[in-house]
Symmetry: C2
Subunit: 298 residues, 2 copies
DNA sequence: AACCATTGTTCTCATTTTGAGAACTATCAT
DNA sequence: ATGATAGTTCTCAAAATGAGAACAATGGTT
């Protein structure tokens, strides 16, 4: 094994927090990780990590080695990427974490198109709404909808996510008319969480709606079906209900009101050279969706 | 084999000028070098070197890769060196090219003392007066006396080399008196090359002496013995004749005149991070000899 | 204080990688 | 046309590396 590979392993051990976790992430036996780390320390003649079976900490030499290694690794990755870019097709693998609804309905076709454009590229798509740990789980890219929390991850905004209130024509006929926001509490709202939400009237004034949900669920498609069946007014992102709106299965409610938009982000590991395949995919998605996506045209 | 090791191999192939020469320098089979270079190119997906069986040239990608690799390699070497320096003894090997006379008489004791100070260090000393190719032959350091030619090598001045005219008392008794430089042509001068030389009188005026040498030889010890035996006036560096002067076997001739000094240099490969063991040795020698060396005290 | 779970280390062995060397190919000089 | 030289390919032995078992050390829990 090489010097650079051992630097990467050392960096991974630090970032994982233990030899055991690093071994899991690297798909290596912990004995192999232990040995290579020991070999690196022996070659350098310096202890990099003070470790017992329960705790470990960087030595002073190790802290410096870690910082400098990061820089060198990034330079090598950039050099490799630049050399590979010399008149060459994208190749390799992209491991992506994709939210269920957005992923199945929209990202899939975009990723399929991207894959056709780059035949030497492979992709592993993991559909999940859970909050993945990108570094820990080895993802190149993850997609998040909402507001990004305090995070060391780096993110690029992919598109705008608008939300609307909508109900079936039958539901609206069978229930009290909704003229303004004060009429909402008398209705059944179908939404993700049984929590109040805020809407803005045409004057920009915000109103918090404290309506109890008869049903709440964390699956937008399910809620859409309920709304189409006349079970209430759905509060959902347009990228889910756009086709039902278009087909007149659902109708906008209080369309002169607005809801603060969310955004969809592509999220990737921090302090790393961004591989061109990852960067190209993000650029492709920004161009494909952007701030005026097709699902807002209904 | 690792990415960094393959970078070093690639750089070596470029600098050696051929796979065959690089293999010789690295003590590897040329099939191994050929394979590793091909593997690196395959991994990068780019041809780095266009090569036929007779000629080779860098591609554009290869030229960039070469330049960037040099930087990365230096950074890694520096990081390693700094980490190794963390409260540690010098270790490893130093391969030195040492001129015969100066080496045997002076450097040897200095290097022996240095080795005693650094027990984990090993040294390979190659005694030769020939002009070695430091990079080609894998030397860490070479020593040169004289004036450095136009060279990309880097050098550090170790000490000053003074030359003197001297003869045995018997020779001086048996031959015409030497009062000033005009008396020299009537004498037999023992020197390295049968060429004129320049001396400066007490007023700083230079005089070219066109005396033919009965004997010339490129071995200073041999010439010293001839002078002691009364065969003529020797023109030699003090580091060779100092003990004969001290023992009154030889006496200065025209001691109020002077000869332009030369210098001894430690020479090392250019554009490289200088390993601390090499740097420490050079510092040691500068301190040990300096501009007023012990052989000038006679 | 005893016990258990977890992490790291060491050792053995199988697998993989790597280099040596022979044989071959291609190119250029004579 | 021939020979010398450099690079490539192939085979095989040697070296390196990782997996997994067993063990040691540490800290938390009871």
């Amino acid at each position: 094994m090489g010097k650079l590979e051992n630097m990467r392993l050392f960096v991974r051990v630090i970032e994982a927090g233990s030899i055991t976790k690093a071994a899991e992430q690297l798909n290596l036996a912990k004995s192999a990780v232990s040995k290579r780390l020991a070999d690196l320390e022996e070659e350098l003649g310096s202890k990099l990590i003070n470790r017992t079976t329960r705790t470990s900490s960087l030595t002073e030499a190790g802290a410096n080695y870690y910082q400098r290694s990061l820089l060198i690794i990034d330079e090598v990755d950039e050099l490799d990427a630049n050399t590979k870019d010399s008149g060459r097709e994208l190749a390799g693998n992209l491991k992506l974490s994709v939210p269920l609804s957005f992923g199945l309905a929209h990202l899939n076709t975009a990723l399929d198109e991207f894959a056709k454009l780059h035949p030497d590229l492979t992709m592993e798509i993991d559909f999940s709404d859970r909050h993945v740990d990108i570094v820990d789980e080895g993802f190149d890219l993850a997609f998040r909808i909402g507001d990004l929390k305090n995070s060391s991850l780096q993110a690029r905004k992919i598109t705008r996510i608008n939300h609307v209130l909508c109900a079936s024509p039958d539901y609206l006929k069978a229930n009290n008319a909704i003229v303004d926001h004060t009429d909402l509490p008398g209705h059944s709202i179908l939404k993700y969480k049984n929590q109040p939400f805020t809407i803005f009237d045409e004057h920009g004034k915000s109103h918090s709606i404290l309506s109890s949900s008869k049903i709440s669920a964390n699956n937008g498609d399910f809620l859409t079906q309920l709304a189409i069946s006349g079970h209430g007014i759905a509060l959902e992102p347009t990228f889910i209900v756009w086709q039902a709106l278009k087909a007149k299965q659902l109708t906008l409610v209080l369309s002169n009101y607005s809801i603060a938009p969310m955004h969809a982000y592509a999220v990737y590991p921090p302090n790393r050279y961004l591989p061109i395949k990852t960067r190209t995919l993000i650029d492709f998605l920004v161009a494909r969706f952007g701030d005026n996506p097709y699902w807002d045209k209904y």
